[in-house]
């Protein structure tokens, strides 16, 4: 059986990649995808721990997280589409009229 640490390690890597994606990418959709990656890395951790504890709690949690993520996707995409209609761009570096 694959040791738990590997899963956790993988989840940590995914999480880090997600963070870096948010920090580095300019495209709002890709930033958003990175966030999703972070959520999913957490999901991975949940599943892993659930398996470790032989309990279902963690898996149930994942269901909810996925549902919530879907809701976020809906809102996020709608927002991004709205902004694209206005600015013809979803580059977050160009969305900086509010500052200071």
């Amino acid at each position: 059986m694959v040791p738990i640490q590997y899963f956790i390690g993988l989840s940590a890597i995914l999480f880090t990649i997600g963070i870096l994606g948010v920090l580095i990418r300019r495209n709002a959709i890709i930033i958003f995808m990175s966030v999703e990656l972070m959520l999913n890395s957490a999901n991975l951790a949940f599943i892993t721990f659930a398996r470790m504890y032989q309990s279902l709690d963690g898996q149930v949690f994942v269901f909810f997280v996925m549902a919530v993520a879907a809701a976020e996707v809906a809102v996020g995409l709608a927002l991004i589409v709205a902004i694209f209609r206005n600015k013809q761009s979803i580059d977050v570096d160009q969305i900086n009229s509010l500052h200071g």
């Binding site: 963070i19 920090l23 580095i24 930033i31 977050v92 570096d93 969305i95």
Partner: protein
């Protein structure tokens, strides 16, 4: 038997006492709220009725006191309750306070009625009619405040009234705030009065602090009861309290050195001068000392000081009065001088004499002011009439265009044109100079007798003052009423309407007969006041003193006649450029100049106090506050510092450090990434980065701790 029973079970109206304050308050509230929609007459009569009802209540209280001479304390509300301190607003009803109430409400009512006529014309000539309402609101407020002052049963409530009347005085002196020298003269006069009073009030309030510290209470009865005990334990406390109260008195009652505001206060309308600055408010100081007799009696050295301050003021002000040309200024200095008499009297422990003079003075000085007002009004009418009549306007010269209706040099010969005013003025003047049997003689004689017994120095000073009083009043009578008219308006002046003359006649009657209150044989007034002040000695009538003073008075009048009756008329024949404005000027030379300039007291104060003070204020405001505190400390240190700090925090730290850390981290990523064709950071990502830095720091701490 039945008589004494009837007396002891006579009507008792003490519970009515709150009404003396309530009526004027109702009057002023109604006038404030609805005055805009009421006619002038209605406003005036309503205010007068409010004052009149107060007077009726005061009379009822007086009647009750005949049966219950011990009086009563009528509490209304708990005013302040803080810890130990518990102050009620109660009314002290006794013979002393009721005397004051009668004077205030009585004279006040007459002056209200007089004002209905006087202010009608004054408003027409001097300002917009909307002020009519304001005037009566202030007047009613004054009556209410004065009533609070005289009816208080503790020092703090008395102080409330004391401040209240000061406020009314300020408001009414500045009633024509847009008039006067440079358009602000009257406002300046009001300010001066306020500041002088404030200095005095400071003394008073310090006295109150010490009193509370020592006695633990402000209530008259409690304080007086404890006073002998305290005096034996801390004599210095009593000395301090009484001396500081004296400071308050010199402010409110215009004694040396704070008297300078009162002459300027004549900038207010004449009824105000009569009511506030002659008859009632300025006597509050005398009332205060009389009320505190139990304290003053314990410290003879302070009493001595009070007496000397009073006597010196009496003499000093009398000399100045000799050199004035403004009809109201003469009366103002006369008032100061007479207040000096009263203060001297109460200072010598002759409370009855002081209070007696207070009452009679209220009558004749109110009378003099009001009739002077009638004269001023007559001249103004005539002047106004001529200005609008082209035929009469022609002969007017330059002098007439800048006509001052208060300058006695513009008067003369008015006795034929304003008969009633002349006669009542004459009665008032005789009463003031102290010719028997008019009121002033009796009261002044009582003071002089007491002085002769207790304080010879004060006695001689006051005797001199009495001489000067007679002289300047003779001078005024002769300049105003006798001789030939010295200006066109004076030739055309007319008598005032009955609404003005009727109160004058009533006051004249009082001024003539007021002496009957305390004739030497019966001492009615003495016994009346004994119910409030304990046993009082009654000055024995001394023929020698009465004779001496009467002789001096007559001599002074004769001297006045020589100078102003004969010589002044003769001078009128001289050509204007060689004609001195006053026959005394050639005789006294520079001394007259000094008198005319009020001994340069104002200038002295300016030089030694106000100018240095103003300089200091300028220094503090300009150099210390503005340049140092504002410009340097505030602007440079605080604001600059703030701005720098804000900049540091927002630019250096938030943008600089957080962002820079972010940027640095971002930069390191960026530099690497820029090489590999990666993008520059933007705002949202900066935020995310700062967020991430926070996470790293927190987790770093938690892991490495």
């Amino acid at each position: 038997m039945w008589l004494s029973e009837a007396v002891s079970s006579g009507p008792q109206f003490f519970y009515l006492v709150p009404l003396v304050v309530l009526f004027p308050v109702i009057g002023l509230l109604v006038n404030t709220a609805f005055g805009g929609r009421m006619s002038e007459k209605a406003i005036g009569w309503l205010a007068s009725a409010a004052a009149g009802l107060s007077f009726v209540v005061a009379v009822l209280l007086g009647i009750s006191l005949l049966s219950y001479p011990e009086g009563a304390v009528v509490p209304i509300v708990d005013w302040i309750t803080i810890g130990e301190l518990n102050i009620n607003w109660g009314f002290q009803v006794d013979t002393l306070s009721v005397t004051m109430m009668l004077v205030v409400a009585g004279v006040g009512t007459l002056i209200h009625i007089y004002s209905i006529g006087y202010m009608h014309d004054d408003v027409r000539f001097q300002g917009d009619p909307g002020r009519y309402q304001r005037f009566f609101v202030f007047m009613n407020l004054f009556i209410a405040m004065m009533m609070i002052l005289v009816s208080a049963d503790n020092y703090l409530m008395l102080f409330v009234g004391w401040e209240g009347v000061g406020l009314c005085s300020y408001l009414l002196i500045g009633f024509w705030y847009d008039k006067g020298e440079n358009g602000i003269g009257n406002a300046v006069a009001g300010k001066k009065a306020f500041i002088a009073n404030r200095i005095g009030d400071f003394g008073f309030i310090l006295a109150a602090f010490i009193m509370f510290w020592v006695f633990g209470t402000f209530e008259f009865n409690a304080v007086f009861e404890l006073a002998p005990e305290v005096a034996s334990l801390f004599p210095a406390a009593i000395v301090a309290i009484t001396l500081l109260m004296l400071v308050g008195v010199t402010g409110k009652s215009a004694q040396i050195p704070l008297f300078v505001w009162l002459p300027d206060a004549m900038a207010g309308p004449t009824p105000v001068s009569a009511l506030i600055h002659a008859a009632t408010m300025v006597t509050a100081g005398v009332y205060l000392i009389t009320r505190s007799a139990a304290l003053y009696n314990l410290v003879p050295q302070v009493q001595n000081i009070v007496a000397l301050v009073g006597a010196a003021t009496a003499l000093f002000a009398a000399t100045i009065a000799v050199g004035q040309f403004d009809i109201k200024k003469v009366l103002a200095y006369s008032t100061i001088s007479q207040l000096g008499f009263m203060v001297a009297a109460v200072g010598m422990g002759a409370y009855v004499a002081g209070m007696f003079h207070l009452v009679t003075h209220a009558f004749f000085k109110a009378l003099l002011f009001l009739s002077a007002g009638s004269v001023i009004l007559g001249l103004e009418h005539a002047h106004h009439h001529m200005e609008h009549n082209s035929q009469l306007k022609l002969p007017m010269d330059e002098n007439d265009l800048h006509f001052d209706p208060q300058d006695m040099r513009n008067m003369g010969g008015l006795r034929n044109r304003m008969k009633i005013s002349f006669w009542v003025y004459l009665i008032g003047a005789i009463a003031l100079t102290g010719i028997p049997p008019l009121a002033g003689f009796w009261s002044k004689d009582e003071i002089l007798t007491d002085a002769a017994n207790f304080n010879p120095l004060a006695y001689w000073m006051m005797l001199a003052a009495a001489f000067l009083t007679a002289f300047y009043m003779g001078r005024q009578i002769l300049m105003v009423w006798f001789g030939k008219p010295r200006s066109l308006p004076a030739e055309h002046a007319n008598e005032s309407p009955p609404i003005i003359t009727v109160p004058l006649i009533i006051l004249a009657a009082l001024a003539a007969t007021g002496g009957a209150l305390n004739l030497p044989m019966w001492h009615t007034f003495t016994h009346w006041l004994e119910d409030s002040l304990g046993h009082l000695h009654a000055a024995e009538f001394s023929l020698q003193i009465a004779g001496l003073s009467s002789f001096l008075v007559l001599a002074a009048i004769f001297l006045a006649w020589l100078l102003y009756g004969r010589k002044y008329q003769a001078m009128q024949e001289l050509p204007p450029d060689k004609r001195p404005d006053d026959p005394l000027r050639p005789i006294l030379g520079p001394v007259f100049n000094a008198l005319n300039h009020k001994w340069w007291v104002d200038e002295l104060y300016w030089t030694i106090i106000i100018n240095p003070y103003v300089s200091l204020a300028h220094f503090l405001a300009d150099v210390v506050d503005w340049r140092f505190w504002h410009d340097w400390f505030h602007d440079t240190v605080i604001v600059g510092g703030y701005n720098k700090l804000t900049q540091v925090l927002s630019i250096q730290i938030d943008l600089g450090v957080i962002d820079a850390v972010a940027n640095k981290l971002g930069d390191s990523v960026k530099r690497a990434a820029a090489k590999w064709r990666v993008i520059e950071t933007g705002y949202v990502r900066n935020y995310a980065l700062s967020f991430f830095i926070g996470v790293v720091l927190i987790l770093g701490y938690l892991i490495l701790r």
